[in-house]
Symmetry: C2
Subunit: 676 residues, 2 copies
């Protein structure tokens, strides 16, 4: 019996000048054609025999050399098929299916330098990945990539969600929605939806030592890789053997299926850390929001937040409610004056005098809590790299196993000293910083430190390889609600994130603000949700480190609602999506990795919703208690954000719950078995 | 404890000249404002505090009288709340929840004739109904309605699915999709979708003695009731007390929720038939498709289809496979010559000489099958009404309990003799024909005859009141695939019907054509689906009388696939919608009313789909066998429509099936318990 249809086909009906090789996905839904036409390499993508991506170029432009994008012959083709399941150390799902067919096309220039270029394609049922390999070769040693030729030549228009990549230094923008045909240059994950709901997202995987890829529109529906340059205009500095990140195209029948596509993780290297016993997802509180709302300051002085006394208060609070960590920002010297301009003043081992770090770490340990270190660099990575080993060693000795880093540079470039001792300024998302972020991850791993990176490089799945790379920011988070002049994050922001930024990986959004109106400290700002929606965000936005971001007193004031934050896990056995409309609403359920409990989060934009949620994911043969934290009958993010209602219902796998989400609202549910 | 929030509010913040009364739906999601502004009545509809329908006029224009639409005062307001569940004799669901709040506004003109007009509003969580009552009164006895003022004043644009009402004589058109702002005059159900998936459908309920309502666009987003006129231009001829049909606005979070909204049925009168033991849903085969493909003829002669011998063949086939009935078209005299022009030649009790009706009904009875009568009128309703009683009596005596009627007039008007003995021509959808169709239903009920009406008046839920009104056509059915010059029904037709025509009620679409390419008889026509999609239509398109439309030999040629048609029930305990995108794809599951079996139908347009179907509807604690009739791996409606595959899987309530629908394809599944 034929066990597998061989994934590779040679096409017989092509002009003599062209060769075509077809690779199909395991179930045959997706197909990639590799085409070599008059020596020039292209690829196409088909779904159900319909063309999704028409002939799109491949290759590179190199400095002081002919372009590496034509004049090729195929020297070898190899295929492989993989069908395996691997386990995450932590994550949104414990087990990940990695099922694909692979084709490696080995090309060599027919004349001239006879340089060699391999292109590796992997075709999954939920998308495509391809990458370039430049093998070790005589005529290509050190080189500089000036441009990547990779195109994504779509065949018609889509509705696109994007943030503009006009600075290459920030990701913290509100997402825009426009036709594909009207975008300019955008960051990835870049997500599009067809008018029949087909969802496509372009991103990259395993960005290790390369420039970040942004996407420039070069035709009506055509995108081209636009790499973030070095200060000298070079995009990537490399030597053979070189391997590029994967260019990924996730393709799903519905936007919800994008959320449960693990293609990015599959296209990263397996875990490189032998001992992962010290890596522990958890929840934390901290001295953070109070600075954002102006109650206290990062800098020293009468309003200094990171004092011994204040930190003890947070440690007590964390211990009382079972939180794992207490983040303290502003604990170390360097915050006084304009720290954004003078990041080199930060010292990562010297606490302010009113912060007794030894006493506090001991106090925390006694209480079963740990401090979370904070390293704001102000973008001064040279200063940070110089101190990093010492700092991490210092933290490890103190029992600090989590460090939150920061690179607040307000969009400025990052200072670098070049080979000639000259100062250069590099882009936040260029190869220089990609290398820096990777160096931090690897260094932290050696000191058993988990990372929570703010103002990061984008997530491309490195957490699979370095599972101490826990979570990161990389989008507008909660703090914009505290102070932004544009009115904060609108209600639709968090119903766009799951289909864009969050496809890349975990985000430290810092949900859980209960004092929605901020009236005491920020009368002109507010959080643009209901309180119930803040709870739902703990399920919607996956992060293995999840903050309860509000002040302790605000949680004590809504002790009943706070219970959900106390209960909700951060590490999951599996994830399913019940409803998904980009920018409108989304419902996600996740099963706790360490118990039989399930959690549901459902959120909406500024419109109220009535959604039916079938509980098919619950174990049949079992009754569950559903603790439902929902918007009250008169809740509305504008007029009544604090109207919430908590109720209990006995449910089972046959139950269909009706979720009523207020305008700007949400529902959070804990399900726990009440029978064996 | 306050058990119910009183549904009625008087608004205090209105100009002195205006009064406003608010009625909300049971859960408060929907609200209707009745407004009397300077004597003129209006209504508005809100959902979650957002305006969906802005001030819209109400009232009538009467002949030779002042309009009945202004100068009113409110004389009385009464409210009511109903929360009940009633049972259908047969249907898509056995039990129907009827939960609403009601407001009756009694108006009287402040001067002049001082006529009285009542408006009844019912607000459900899934929509609104309102109707007009003209009570018995001194200054309004006999009258003629020249126009209905009812408006639907939407506040923004929607994507609309519609058939144009430019003739008032036909429903058999392909649905169009355009912005609301670009439609002209359309039939109902008229369905619209917001860009967030909110689905709205306007229709009417209980059309009993009134003109059909079409909708004319009178503003950018504003529709107005446009009643189908009599030949003299009058819209409705009436006398007090008069009650109009309900004007219905179904409003659902998703298009799928529209399908399971039973508002139209709820707004009809309960069953009027005391004995319903003779009303039996069932499946049938018949001498029908062979005429449409030209294998035989309705008319007499060498190719006459309705012969004794041929009918026996169908009876044998029906008996062999357990079908309940055999339809025979062309059995009675009148088909020879141009029967569409000469419908008065039809005789409904005289068989052609080669059709031995007595022998055949006896033969059928012996075989446990019954003949289904056929009354094609050619639109000559005077001829039909004159013979109807005799005909029904004749059929009853023969044991014929189902009659399929037909009104093929190719869009022509219907002949009527007026009060003065003059010939008039009436519109197919005007009050004259509404009365005729109702008369047929009532007459048939007296003779215990179930009806299957082709070229009908639209369905407005009369089946609740007269459950012998089984099914009807009222849209482009299967026969267009046999002969239409426009290429037949495109793949998207059947993924639009569930959200438009089928919201009105059952349809005798006559699915089940296996000889997709029709190559023997109609080489220039074909059915634009895969074979598997033909099976899925039995679940998608609800009809209590469901035909296996193809020729017996074509079923014998695919005996394995035919098993699904043999097994599928036609009367359902409940219905749920798993996937729903108007014009793209839809998945419906229904539970058999008389067993523990469930059936799934999933169909797509011309695009292939991968859909995840959670089987949460299955009884937990039980294993089921899923008999899956799906598109083969290479199926495609264009290139490989006959590629199907049948497989069995053991499943339960926790199973999530992946449905792979080929382009133009579908999946049909039978689930039966394999444990107690």
């Amino acid at each position: 019996m034929l066990k597998r249809i061989w994934p590779l086909f040679f096409c017989l009906f092509l002009p003599l000048s062209a060769q075509q090789i077809t690779l199909q996905s395991p179930s045959g839904i997706l197909k990639v054609n590799f085409i070599l036409d008059q020596g020039r390499p292209y690829y196409q993508v088909y779904r159900f025999n319909e063309i999704l991506i028409d002939s799109s170029r491949l290759g590179f432009v190199l400095k002081n050399q002919p372009p590496l994008d034509a004049n090729f012959k195929i020297t070898d083709l190899t295929t492989d098929s993989v069908d395996q399941t691997w386990e995450q150390v932590w994550g949104e799902a414990a087990k990940i299916l990695n099922h694909y067919n692979q084709l490696i096309v080995r090309l060599q220039e027919k004349s001239g330098l006879q340089r060699r270029l391999n292109i590796v394609f992997r075709v999954y049922d939920d998308g495509i990945g391809f990458r370039y390999q430049l093998p070790d070769q005589k005529n290509l040693k050190q080189f500089a990539i000036m441009d990547e030729r990779t195109e994504f030549n779509f065949t018609h228009d889509y509705s696109a969600w994007w943030i503009k990549a006009y600075q290459w230094n920030r990701y913290e923008y509100l997402y825009q929605n426009s036709p594909l045909s009207q975008i300019d240059t955008v960051h990835t994950p870049f997500t599009m939806e067809g008018n029949d709901g087909l969802a496509i997202s372009i991103h990259e995987a395993s960005l290790t030592d390369f420039a970040s890829m942004t996407l420039a529109r070069t035709g009506r529906y055509k995108l081209e890789a636009d790499l973030v340059p070095w200060s000298d205009g070079v995009k990537v500095k490399a030597q053979t053997p070189m391997i590029s990140p994967w260019r990924t195209i996730q393709i799903a029948e519905t936007p919800g299926d994008l959320i449960t596509s693990y293609l990015i993780l599959n296209l990263n290297e397996p875990n490189k850390l032998k001992d992962v016993s010290w890596i522990k997802p958890g929840k934390y509180v901290g001295i953070w929001w109070e600075m954002h709302i102006g109650k206290s300051t990062w800098s020293s002085g009468p309003k200094h937040g990171a004092t011994t006394e204040n930190t003890k208060k947070y440690i007590d609070f964390a211990a009382k409610y079972g939180f794992d960590g207490v983040l303290v920002e502003g604990w170390n010297t360097g915050w006084d004056g304009d720290w954004i301009k003078n990041g080199e003043k930060f010292n990562f081992t010297t606490p302010y005098p009113d912060f007794d770090i030894k006493q506090l770490t001991a106090y925390a340990r006694k209480k079963g809590v740990q401090l979370i270190g904070h390293n704001e660099t102000g973008g001064s990575v040279l200063n940070y790299e110089a101190q990093m080993e010492d700092a991490f060693r210092f933290y490890q000795k103190l029992g600090i196993h989590i460090v939150k880093t920061g690179y607040v540079a307000h969009g400025r470039e990052i200072k670098r000293i070049d080979e000639n001792g000259q100062v250069q300024y590099e882009m936040h998302h260029g190869q220089f910083m990609v290398r820096h972020y990777r160096k931090v991850v690897e260094t932290a791993a050696r000191y058993h430190i988990m990372l929570d990176v703010h103002e990061p490089i984008k997530d491309t799945g490195i957490r699979r390889t370095y599972p101490n790379m826990m979570t990161r920011e990389g989008a507008r988070g909660q703090e914009f609600n505290a102070w932004s002049a544009d009115g904060g994050n609108p209600p639709e922001h968090t119903v766009i994130l799951p289909f864009t930024r969050l496809l890349a990986g975990p985000m430290d959004f810092t949900p859980g603000i209960f004092d929605i109106m901020l009236s005491q400290y920020r009368p002109n700002n507010r959080v643009n949700t209901t309180l119930a929606k803040q709870l739902a965000l703990y399920v919607i936005i996956f992060s293995p480190l999840q903050m309860a971001a509000d002040l302790p007193e605000n949680y004590e004031a809504h002790r009943d609602a706070f219970q959900f934050i106390i209960d909700v896990p951060v590490d999951w056995e599996e994830t399913r999506v019940l409803h998904a409309r980009i920018g409108d609403y989304v419902t996600i359920v996740r099963k706790d990795r360490h118990s039989d409990e399930w959690y549901l989060g459902s959120i909406t934009d500024e419109h109220g919703r009535i959604l039916k949620a079938p509980l098919y994911f619950l174990d049949q043969n079992r009754k569950y208690m559903a603790e439902i934290y929902r918007d009250g009958d008169h809740a509305d993010w504008q007029s009544a954000p604090l109207d919430y209602f908590i109720e209990k219902k006995i449910v089972d796998a046959n139950t269909v719950l009706t979720l009523r989400l207020a305008p700007g609202g949400g529902t959070a549910i804990r399900f726990y078995p009440i029978e064996k």
